[in-house]
Symmetry: C2
Subunit: 116 residues, 2 copies
DNA sequence: GTAGGACCTGACACCAATGTGAGGGGCAAG
DNA sequence: CTTGCCCCTCACATTGGTGTCAGGTCCTAC
């Protein structure tokens, strides 16, 4: 499978597939002329990558996490810990925006008293 | 008051004060030699700008909003509408991250079934 | 007048994933 | 062999507030 076919099979842009390779998430074979050749398992792989992006992980986090996935069981605890750390980051992000929203509510309630 | 003094009075960096001017949030006088000269009301002004940043507004939004603040009353309704729009944006941001967190929870609960 | 600190402008760095374009090679069907 | 589409690499743009240089100028105290 060449890159365009994988792109349409997964809905991910060709550009992004090349980026994933650059980040080390995919390692396709190359044809003699240098074209990327992907096996059928790459579809699942790309879908997993997409799920991780949807889950709010950045490339850097995925670099940590992807090697653990599909490894034998002993790593499961470390993997879960890493994912929980990401979960905590998301919760912190939410809390931060909630604080911003409270600040904004305060400003709205003060309206009419500005004089600067 | 020169820029360094305003910076220490407000806790905002000199770099940021110059940026605020560039964005049109502040319009200090200039001395003959070109140095920025701020009046004492600038302290309040900078504090308001900081409050808006804390409230999660971006410079672009503040460009819309600042001219209304300190204007006579008739604009109050438009100003409030604008701030409520920003509030909605924050709520949307929160919802988006919450969805990411749910995706992550789903992934965590699936752990052990990965094979790619 | 000189030292040293405060100030000036302009510009690059950061973070992250993706879009986009240039310039060129590969491949299959007619 | 040509046409046309797919692929290749390299590289710049995007977003935004701030940090941080570099290379100069200004101001104040001595």
């Amino acid at each position: 499978m060449r890159i365009g076919e994988l792109a349409s099979a997964t809905g991910v842009s060709v550009r992004s597939l090349r980026y994933y390779e650059n980040q080390g998430f995919l390692s396709p074979e190359r044809s003699v002329s240098g074209q990327r050749i992907y096996g059928p398992e790459s579809v699942q792989r790309v879908e997993l990558i997409q799920r991780l992006f949807d889950a709010g992980l950045c490339s850097k986090a995925m670099t940590d996490i992807l090697p653990f996935i599909a490894d034998p069981r002993p790593r499961a605890a470390a993997l879960e810990a890493r994912l929980l750390k990401e979960r905590e980051r998301l919760s912190n992000d939410i809390a931060k925006i909630e604080r911003s929203r409270e600040s904004l509510d305060q400003l709205i309630s003060e309206m009419g008293r500005f004089s600067t």
